[in-house]
């Protein structure tokens, strides 16, 4: 935030947005917090994710916080926005960071195949074959299979594991996700930080419900939930890994 807007002013802007639908007031509020958003995004950039992508993620967190903040509570707006944005970044990293060291070539091919999968599904009106993906990517079918499998290593690990986030860095993920909380580290905020993880679990549950109970295909679920097919596949597998721990021998 730029520090030129007082808490009273911010609350007035938020009230104008909530009670009168004043979009301009909301936009001014967003603008006021953009330096904070940019600062947080920059802090996490350069570790496998692009700054602009992270700024978008953080901005989404900001908008969510503005929508959800309870004006009746005696808490400063920034103390709610900060952990909500961090929670959104956490969720993003948990979803997207490579769990093990994967060669850059495979990472890039995985991303290319993931894009081709979306494009070809839309163009063909069906799921493309591995051969079609291979031809479009200019690689062999085996390389496509290998790249898809490499993508399984994308996320799916605990926050305290010690992954290699990039080819030349080895950082505890929890270190990456820790931010200076500047006095906001009270119980309430820790609860808010945790809500990002809870939300992810809810989404996993929903995706699994859609696939196994409602019988939707991956591409249908991707359209329904608003994530890529490859990501749907990963989330289902993550749930499956949990399942592996749940199964009890008779």
């Amino acid at each position: 935030m730029n520090g030129t807007t007082s808490e009273v002013d911010r609350r007035s802007l938020l009230r104008a947005y909530r009670e009168q639908g004043d979009i301009g007031a909301r936009d001014r509020l967003v603008e006021d917090f953009m330096p904070l958003i940019t600062s947080l995004a920059r802090r996490y950039a350069g570790r496998g994710e692009q700054f602009e992508d992270l700024r978008q993620v953080a901005s989404l967190g900001l908008v969510k916080a503005i929508e959800r903040f309870d004006l009746d509570r005696d808490v400063e707006l920034v103390t709610y926005i900060f952990p909500t944005v961090v929670g959104e970044l956490k969720r993003h990293f948990r979803d997207r960071i490579w769990a093990v060291s994967v060669p850059r070539r495979l990472k890039e091919l995985h991303q290319q195949v993931s894009r081709l999968l979306e494009d070809q599904t839309a163009r063909l009106g069906r799921s493309p074959t591995i051969a079609e993906l291979a031809e479009a990517a200019g690689v062999t079918e085996e390389e496509v299979v290998e790249a898809i499998e490499a993508g399984r290593a994308y996320s799916a690990r605990s926050l305290t594991s010690s992954p290699e986030l990039d080819d030349d860095s080895d950082v505890e993920l929890i270190d990456l996700l820790e931010v200076e909380e500047h006095g906001y580290e009270d119980a309430e905020n820790r609860e808010l930080l945790a809500s990002g993880i809870k939300a992810l679990d809810e989404r996993e549950r929903r995706i699994v419900q859609l696939r196994f109970v409602d019988g939707l295909t991956q591409s249908q679920i991707a359209a329904e939930v608003g994530v890529s097919q490859m990501h749907v596949s990963r989330l289902i597998r993550r749930a499956l890994e949990t399942l592996g721990k749940e199964i009890q021998a008779p």
Binding site: I130, S219, S233, A239, P250
Partner: protein, 145 residues
Amino acid sequence: MAAIPGTATVLASSGGGGIVNGEPVVITLPVEGYEHVARLVTGGLASRLEFGFETVDDIQLAIELVLRSIPAREATTTVSFLQDGRSLSVEIEPVAGLTLEQPLRALDGGGMGLGASLERLVDTVELRAGPEPVVVLGKTLPGQP
């Protein structure tokens, strides 16, 4: 084919040029921790039948689901792939103690059965009882009888 504990072995009877109709590809692997090997082999073989990405992923997931559900976690198991040009059949054995009714609590929280879950992923699911029980999963190309 005997497996060395902690390793996966692959037996391809088709000379390395892909599976020939009627000839099986067989892998033996520890039940625990080698799901990715099964996925890679499954992906390679299923893609030769020109299944779409989603179908390949579903077949991989079904096999993984069975492997993760086998009660004897310390054992090894054999996964055999057989295709006839229009369909893929996958046999997983032994799966002693496994039932298709066993609930998958983590999946839906309400006890949806393993068999019902597998049927969302492949066309046919069968558990052949016997001294060495076998799970047989079948998937046919779209438009094939």
